[in-house]
């Protein structure tokens, strides 16, 4: 088979590109969690922020990826960091929204019980709301990660590397094997990420 012989001849390159791809996804999703979860929590405390913040995160989601990279070049140059910035912007919406929805969905009676026990707002968040919302938040992270694996292929358009390199090369030279060489491992990565986070989500549900 064509693809197999291509892989056997280019195994080092394939590994390198896969690693770059994973790096783009992990760093960007990690940063999106660090920014998105606190933002989602803040929205439950400041309802007035909800519409503008979710609206803005929504807008990023609608910008085509090649156009977004184009807009970012003047600020971040070319290479991995521009791609990571774009991936963060795409990952924010599902994380912020699920964090907000998860916490807002906690039974008011449970929250009242916590208050009745003399919990401060911080304790209520840490001991009651976050544990109960964890499943929903993780579902948001899961969506963000899977989407990032797909979108990260476009990083190859600005020299960020990743499996998109094979796809872009294949498109430029009308070579189906080369396109598959990038698309297949990217799809496998997405499935793997989904499966791993799905297991984590089930564990979480089971513990409760």
């Amino acid at each position: 088979m064509n693809l197999l012989s291509f892989y056997s001849r280019n195994s080092a390159e394939l590994l390198g590109l896969t690693w770059q791809h994973v790096y783009l996804v992990v760093v960007s999703t990690g940063a999106a969690i660090v920014v998105g979860v606190p933002l989602g929590i803040a929205l439950t405390r400041r309802p007035a922020w909800r519409a503008p913040v979710l609206g803005l995160a929504n807008v990023f989601q609608t910008i085509p990826s090649l156009a977004l990279l184009g807009f970012l070049i003047p600020f971040f140059g070319i290479g991995a960091w521009t791609a990571i910035t774009a991936l963060i912007l795409y990952a924010l919406l599902p994380i912020i929204r699920n964090t907000y929805t998860g916490i807002a969905g906690v039974d008011p009676a449970v929250r009242e019980a916590g208050r009745g026990m003399g919990m401060t707002d911080g304790e209520l968040l840490r001991l009651v709301e976050l544990p109960l919302a964890a499943g929903v938040i993780l579902a948001g992270i899961r969506v963000a990660t899977v989407v990032s694996v797909g979108v990260a292929t476009i990083g190859a358009a600005i020299g960020a590397g990743g499996l998109g390199v094979y796809i872009f090369r294949g498109v430029a030279t009308v070579d189906d094997t080369l396109i598959m060489a990038g698309a297949l491992p990217a799809a496998l990565l997405a499935l793997a990420a989904d499966a791993v986070l799905g297991i984590a989500q089930r564990r979480l549900a089971w513990q409760r």
Partner: protein
């Protein structure tokens, strides 16, 4: 994908074309601005000289679709590039003898396909090594061979096609002895223009007749060692159509040699940068240059 799309388009074209046509000429074009513009110029020239109805089938799927369509008689003519015909259609290895390409292509097309190449428009849409105009002035860069002086301090960004093709970067760096500060960044072709204008890279490889070159204050360095193959654009017409319409060849020959590289760049910019209608652009150009 492209091949399947091509076949679908072709089937459609066959179905639509089956309704018999004797009193009109069908002009095709590939799926990019320059091809559409040239087809429109050709179409209007035929209309004003021959007073025959011209049907436009613009923005077809690419070289493959246009070639299949003209062979099948679904279009009578379209504008092709000598280098593309040489490598993509006739499957010859990348050229060595620049000057013989056009003649060789013309004679093989005539023999194999019954298609005639008319006189070329005069411009050459090949790869162009582009730098910012300000840099060209500061470092006195006129030709690609001047680039080797500054290359060790510069960064290059190239499209995937240029990095992959036999007549792309590998040969270029060998012929001109170019060694950049780092391996060239592989990027989307459209975004290389942006990266160059925003000073994120210093050299890119674009298309020599691209309208963006002037708009973004870039200059194309001269290929002084004649590395890039010629891509001269000319109308390719079915021999039968030329016989049926006596004045057709003469009308199209009037366009020969009339469009320089600069002129083609200006026309492309009118469409791509100023977003003007190609019918108007073609009409004005014909009025001014082919009275």
């Amino acid at each position: 994908m492209a091949a399947i799309g091509g076949r679908v388009l072709l089937t459609l074209a066959l179905l639509l074309g089956a309704c018999g046509r004797h009193d009109r000429i069908v002009v095709g074009a590939k799926n990019f601005t320059e091809s559409d513009l040239l087809a429109e110029i050709v179409a209007q020239q035929i209309e004003r000289r021959l007073h025959v109805p011209v049907e436009r089938r613009l923005h077809l799927g690419g070289t493959f679709v246009c070639h299949q369509a003209i062979l099948a008689g679904q279009i009578d003519l379209y504008v092709e590039y000598s280098g593309t015909a040489f490598t993509a259609v006739l499957k010859h290895p990348p050229v060595v003898e620049r000057d013989s390409v056009f003649h060789q292509v013309a004679s093989e097309y005539s023999r194999q396909f019954g298609l005639r190449w008319l006189t070329a428009f005069g411009f050459d849409n090949t790869f162009a090594i582009l730098v910012r105009a300000a840099d060209a002035e500061r470092y006195g860069l006129k030709a690609i061979s001047d680039l080797s002086r500054v290359a060790p301090r510069w960064h290059a960004g190239f499209g995937y096609e240029f990095l992959e093709r036999a007549d792309g970067f590998a040969g270029l760096s060998r012929v001109y002895g170019l060694h950049f500060a780092a391996p060239p960044t592989a990027m989307d072709l459209g975004l290389t223009y942006r990266a160059l204008a925003d000073r994120k890279v210093d050299v890119i490889a674009g298309n020599s007749t691209d309208g963006q070159i002037a708009a973004l204050h870039l200059v194309a360095l001269e290929d002084d060692r004649h590395y890039f193959p010629p891509y001269e654009a000319a109308p390719v017409v079915r021999a039968g159509t030329l016989e049926r319409y006596a004045g057709l060849a003469r009308a199209l020959e009037e366009l020969g040699g009339k469009i320089s590289d600069d002129e083609m760049r200006r026309l492309n910019a009118a469409a791509d940068v100023e977003h003007r209608d190609i019918r108007t652009i073609a009409h004005e150009w014909l009025e001014a240059h082919v009275p």
